[in-house]
């Protein structure tokens, strides 16, 4: 390895679910202050800020967070807009800035406010799509899921097994929005259809909340209070935003992104102890498992059967409940969970002796994709 590994040393949370009394700016600040504290740092230790654009309030940005934190000068400051795939991308840029001596400690942050202050409606389906009733990500993903179903025979019960598994995990996470609300496969099958083949329980939650993380060098990480979690491997893969312009509807960029991540990490699939896969819908899980190489193309449906993604299965996935059952904080649902798993801080839902985790983010009708492979 030519470059020294960086580490995630701070995680910051806010209340999540419904936060009507919180402004976007306050949520950004709360998550950031908590992440900096978790890293054992003070705001002036931060010399880079990367903010993921919040579509509810695009005026809260890198510069406002810098002002609120009282940091006189930064060496890196930007807004990232790869939608749900942003945090994995932000952390890669943070890592490159640290490895090249530009920054010491980089703060990455995000806020979602879709539960109580919806973003610009239909923002991803401009123009002709509106005339044809294509409204938002669920319709777009349904088109991809239907093609997968027609090509490979993927069943609604297989999608349902993903939803039921993550709901089961959420019962081990008191912070999950679906904590105390278990679900059976029959519940999934009986939930109303949103857009075929997706039922309501194939689709992620809507949520408010903020999250942040601090990235530093491997050397400095040893002096931080929390167990360091190192970035072993990383990748990105971005396909065209417009569904009809893509080469295929079932290839998302996870393939390219995952290949970069496995190559840079120098490990194999069997080395992964815990997974955090972006679950805008249950379909996203099935196609990512194929594209990342955990199974062959078209085998994702059968692969998830028999509890393979369960906490006691071969590839424990989305132990917090994911976006389907914990909270919809986009890419920021998965990354903090994998970091916490590798810290060993997950209590009842802890994957025993988890050493290496893989986490993915997707965004914009599954056009953007990022992958991180992390180790303790």
């Amino acid at each position: 390895m030519s470059q020294k590994e960086c580490a995630i040393v701070g995680l910051g949370y806010t209340p999540q679910g419904k936060c009507p009394d919180w402004s976007v700016r306050e949520l950004f600040l709360e998550a950031s202050v908590n992440a900096i504290k978790d890293a054992g740092m003070k705001p002036h230790d931060i010399d880079g800020i990367l903010v993921e654009l919040c579509w509810t309030d695009p005026t809260t940005q890198n510069w406002s967070l810098q002002m609120d934190l009282g940091i006189p000068e930064l060496s890196l400051s930007a807004v990232y807009d790869s939608m749900g795939a942003s945090p994995g991308c932000q952390m890669q840029v943070a890592q490159w800035a640290i490895q090249n001596g530009i920054c010491k400690n980089v703060l990455c942050a995000f806020v979602e406010k879709s539960a109580t202050a919806p973003a610009v409606p239909y923002r991803m389906s401009a123009g002709p799509g509106l005339a044809y009733g294509l409204h938002g990500a669920m319709h777009g993903i349904a088109l991809a899921a239907m093609r997968h179903k027609m090509l490979y025979g993927t069943t609604s019960e297989q999608l349902g097994e993903v939803a039921v598994t993550f709901r089961k995990h959420a019962q081990l996470n008191p912070k999950a929005q679906m904590y105390g609300k278990p679900m059976t496969l029959a519940d999934h099958q009986n939930s109303r259809i949103i857009a075929e083949p997706l039922h309501l329980f194939d689709c992620c939650l809507v949520s408010d909340g903020g999250r942040a993380a601090v990235i530093t060098s491997g050397d400095r990480a040893k002096d931080c209070p929390q167990p360091p979690v190192y970035i072993m491997g990383y990748g990105q893969g971005h396909v065209k935003m417009d569904l009809i312009e893509r080469n295929t509807l079932v290839d998302t960029g996870a393939g390219v992104s995952g290949a970069h991540a496995f190559r840079t990490a120098g490990i194999q699939h069997k080395d992964i102890d815990v997974l955090g896969l972006y679950d805008a819908t249950t379909h996203n899980i099935i196609t990512q498992l194929e594209e990342l190489g955990f199974c062959e193309r078209g085998e994702g449906g059968p692969f998830v059967e028999n509890g393979r993604l369960s906490i006691d299965g071969e590839f424990p996935t989305n132990l917090s409940g994911g976006m389907l059952s914990e909270t919809y904080l986009q890419g920021w649902t998965g990354i903090p969970e994998i970091v916490s798993q590798l810290r060993g801080h997950c209590g009842d839902r802890q994957v025993k002796d988890a050493k290496i985790g893989l986490v993915t983010n997707q965004g914009g009708y599954i056009a953007f994709h990022s992958t991180l492979i992390l180790r303790r």
Partner: protein, 141 residues
């Protein structure tokens, strides 16, 4: 008094106006690159550039067959848009056109259970206002 909900406009731009003008004449047009012959999508590419060869010359509008096959579809059972409510479940289809590009549309004369991968389709036009006629697709005869 009943409320009339008008469907949203397809967002006609200077670049896509010839397509929608042709639709008013019940003609389905595509843009053919004068540099390499690649058929550009008529409504989703806004810049005057060929994504295949990079030519900046404006494409040539040509009449297309209006025929294609089902690439994928979804039947929508819930909508935020009241103008679609009485059509629920409506079918969004991605048509693989004979000439190559894909086209997003809605189905006519088909139920969700009729839909099959690669099913042959043909265009059908509906006038929705004096300004806009919309191309939809139906099972080919």
């Amino acid at each position: 008094m009943t409320t009339q909900f008008k469907k949203p406009s397809p967002g006609i731009t200077p670049e896509t106006k010839p397509f929608w003008d042709a639709a008013k004449r019940n003609e389905f047009m595509l843009v053919k690159c004068v540099g390499c012959g690649f058929y550009r999508n008529p409504v989703s590419i806004t810049a005057n550039i060929c994504p295949e060869c990079g030519s900046r010359k404006p494409g040539e509008w040509v009449k297309a067959s209006g025929k294609g096959r089902v690439h994928t579809y979804t039947a929508v059972h819930r909508t935020f848009d009241p103008s679609f409510e009485k059509e629920l479940p409506y079918i969004i289809v991605i048509v693989e056109l004979e000439e190559g590009p894909r086209f997003l549309s809605n189905m006519r004369d088909a139920k969700p259970e009729d839909m099959k991968l690669d099913m042959p389709l043909e265009v059908v036009f509906e006038k929705v206002s004096d300004e806009v006629t919309v191309p939809y697709f139906k099972p080919a005869k």
